[in-house]
């Protein structure tokens, strides 16, 4: 399958190792991964903060750059959710008929990583090995916008050597919420404190999720408190193999 990687602007800049992991993983599974260099951003920050007209160029670019692939994969539930739930809205409100059609065309090919693996590629055991204690935070947009359900957990359970422990109150928001963390910093901190407490109670070495933005928020707090708990994107765990151990 010819799969385009939509890395998202945040992962591109801050967490290139996640994109490399997605690439390694998909190639290991026998697929062709391409990285359209014209890609930038899904427009989520602008859209969710109320800067809607400013989102239009990004929606236009996305529809153009990612047209014609068998699938487009994004290692981010919230960015995949933005494309799937809101690009049509922006195209209808500010775009033209051609854009609306282009968006209509590209949106059904866009998948979050766990959806692509389980639903499209039909795998749950990706041949990974990660002998560590891991807990998983489902992230709100994966959970409630994309409805990825237990797909990430099915993938993780199949990982060799992993000690997967349940995160208490896993479905509670971590309090990041994009610009919410700046606009309502105090509430965001209160939510973060509870999330960190739950993570620490699991005794996990790593907190994993399908969104580096949530992980940056929770991981940033865990780091400040010097808890020693690391964060790791789902893709990086799934890309790990026994070879990495040696």
């Amino acid at each position: 399958m010819r799969i385009a990687l939509f890395i998202t602007c945040f992962n591109d800049t801050m967490f290139p190792r996640t994109g490399r992991a997605v690439t390694e993983l998909l190639e290991r599974l026998g697929h062709t991964v391409e990285f359209p260099q014209g890609q930038t951003c899904c427009g989520q920050m602008h859209f969710n903060t109320g800067y809607r007209p400013e989102t239009l160029p990004m929606v236009r670019r996305f529809a153009e750059v990612f047209a014609g692939y068998d699938a487009v994969v994004a290692p981010s539930g919230s960015c995949a959710g933005m494309v799937r739930d809101h690009h049509r809205v922006v195209a209808a409100q500010y775009g033209d008929a051609a854009l609306a059609e282009a968006v209509e065309h590209v949106v059904p090919t866009v998948y979050e990583l766990s959806e692509l693996l389980v639903d499209v590629l039909g795998v749950t055991d990706v041949g990974a090995c990660f002998p560590h204690r891991v807990t998983y935070h489902p992230t709100c947009h994966s959970l409630r916008m994309l409805r990825v359900g237990d797909r990430p957990l099915r993938l993780l359970r199949a990982v060799k050597g992993i000690d997967l422990v349940e995160l208490p109150a896993a479905e509670s928001c971590c309090g990041f919420g994009g610009t919410f963390a700046l606009k309502n910093a105090d509430v965001s901190n209160a939510m973060l404190a509870d999330k960190m407490r739950h993570v620490q109670n699991t005794g996990a070495e790593f907190l994993s999720a399908g969104d580096n933005s949530c992980l940056t928020h929770i991981g940033g707090g865990l780091s400040r408190l010097r808890t020693g708990v690391g964060t790791m994107h789902l893709a990086e765990i799934l890309a790990s193999t026994e070879g990495d151990l040696r």
Binding site: P16, P36, Q37, G38, P57, R60, C173, G178, L182, S223
Partner: protein, 502 residues
């Protein structure tokens, strides 16, 4: 604009500021966590009992959608049916008009006897919204709240902080203090030896309220539903105090938001299943009172229905925002909201708190009067999942955020710092070349400030982020740079068309 004065409390700070105060109150947070947690779990359990729960939600949502599309038609049907059943219908375009109507009706019943100028009240959001108690007080009429939680709020000189449990922010020892201090001012005092046992507190309230029920000539209520075909009004409650008000007084005045109408009596079937399960986590609410106009020898002899607009028609005109009018005030969204759980209702500065308040309040009063509320959410979506009538609250929140930003653009000569930052970010994200350049700069900058790949304190708007969280340093090499370095280009890599347009 007196309506707005009460939907949004005068002088209330913007949400982030009010939230900070609330967060500092550890007792409040503990009360809220316990109360919302309990209701949340009960709701999940009883909703799961119904195999057709999702179908019920869908049916309710579609009945509401239909009703709102043809609201004028159903309201005229309701007026006709209520009138035919011996009731009197009044139309109020805003809070001031509604208050004038109710005040005049109460005065007309009391004759010259000032003692009779008092009313008992059934818990009602609509009368909170219009500030009826205060308006009546200005006219020399005392309004007594009879719902236990509303009584606590009224005696405490307080504001309600939850749609269903207005005194959710109070612990039982606080309630005991309020009863002991204030009950005597309003009627029968609390017993000297009052403890903070719930049974004791309830008994004190019962004795205090009984004399009000037996004396009052006029009752004021809201309405949960009104059936347009029969003219039947419905009020659901847990304590039975509402029913006392709805049956004992000679005159009953109901103030009802125009969105509460349902096309037919049969529609109650759906909503009376959804409401108690969503609100209190009960299979059925303890008291459901239905009345149709007046009946000789049974209940009030005069019935007045005040149909309240107060910003609803304007809300109806907004295609995305109008779904907020489908709200049945169950408060399920409050009980699942992580923001509400930590701040409580007062932080919203409005009679409608929580996620539904964040979308309803700015629409009723105009976005410029409540601009911080649509941003009081992480968009986690828990409210949408919990809503029994499927109001897509996150969708309305981002819709109203866009309106808030547009309103600011209109009102200001110079753009805000945020608008400038968004513009700059848009320019960077509009072009892969510019993005790559910024990534290189960020990587260089990060090397100067990062320690062990982590950045501590940050300047400017990010200071509030970095106060409690480290930030990972931007990567030395972005993914796009890595790809260019390690992978041969393919035909799709150019992105030239998009680049020219960007």
């Amino acid at each position: 604009m007196s309506g707005a004065d009460n939907v949004v409390w005068l002088g209330a700070p913007a949400f982030p500021e009010a939230a900070r105060t609330a967060l500092a109150d550890t007792r409040l947070r503990a009360n809220l966590r316990r109360a919302t947690g309990t209701i949340r779990d009960k709701r999940l359990a009883v909703a799961a009992e119904l195999e057709d729960w999702e179908e019920l939600r869908e049916t309710a949502a579609s009945v509401k959608r239909h009703t709102l599309r043809h609201l004028d038609h159903h309201l005229l049907r309701l007026e006709k049916a209520v009138t035919a059943a011996g009731g009197v219908v009044h139309w109020a375009s805003d809070a001031a008009e509604a208050n004038r109507i109710v005040t005049a009706l109460v005065k007309a019943t009391g004759g010259g006897d000032i003692e009779k100028h008092e009313v008992v009240k059934v818990k009602s959001m609509a009368t909170q919204e219009i500030g009826l108690n205060e308006a009546l007080a200005d006219a020399g009429i005392r309004a007594y709240e009879t719902d236990l939680a509303e009584l606590i709020v009224q005696l405490g000189g307080d504001r309600p902080s939850h749609i269903l449990v207005p005194a959710i922010h109070r612990g039982r020892s606080e309630i005991r203090e309020i009863f002991r201090r204030e009950m005597g001012e309003w009627g029968r005092p609390a017993p000297e030896d009052l403890t903070d046992e719930p049974r004791d507190l309830a008994e004190a309230a019962r004795l205090h309220l009984r004399e009000k029920f037996l004396r009052a000539k006029v009752a004021v209520s809201g309405a949960n539903f009104a059936a347009a075909d029969t003219g039947t009004i419905a009020v659901v409650e847990s304590e039975g105090n509402g029913r006392m008000c709805l049956t004992l007084p000679e005159t009953l005045i109901t103030v009802m938001g125009i969105e509460k109408v349902l096309p037919s009596f049969a529609d109650l079937d759906v909503f009376l299943q959804l409401l108690p399960r969503s609100s209190t986590g009960e299979r059925m609410n303890p008291y459901t009172s239905l009345w149709t106009g007046v009946t000789e020898g049974d209940g009030p002899r005069n019935f007045h229905l005040v149909l309240l607009d107060n910003g609803r028609t304007a809300t109806l005109a907004d295609e995305v925002g109008r779904q907020a009018l489908a709200c049945i005030r169950c408060s399920a969204c409050l009980n699942v909201c992580p923001v509400y759980e930590r701040t409580g209702g007062h932080a919203y500065g409005s009679v409608y708190p929580g996620p539904i308040g964040a979308v309803l309040t700015p629409q009723l009063v105009g976005i410029e009067n409540a601009a911080s509320l649509p941003f009081a959410s992480t968009l986690c979506g828990a409210c949408y999942d919990a809503c029994p009538v499927k109001i897509n609250i996150p969708e309305v929140l981002v819709h109203l955020r866009a309106e808030a930003v547009e309103a600011k653009r209109r009102d200001r000569l110079l753009p805000t710092t945020e608008a400038l930052a968004m513009k700059a970010a848009g320019a960077v994200l509009g072009s892969p070349r510019r993005l790559a350049a910024v990534q290189r700069l960020a990587a260089m900058g990060a090397r100067l400030v990062a320690r062990d790949g982590r950045i501590g304190a940050l300047p400017g708007p990010f200071a509030r982020w970095s106060g409690t969280r480290d930030t990972p340093a931007p990567a030395r090499e972005s993914l796009r740079a890595w790809w260019r370095r390690t992978r041969p280009p393919t035909s799709e890599d150019s992105g030239t068309t998009a680049e020219r347009k960007g």
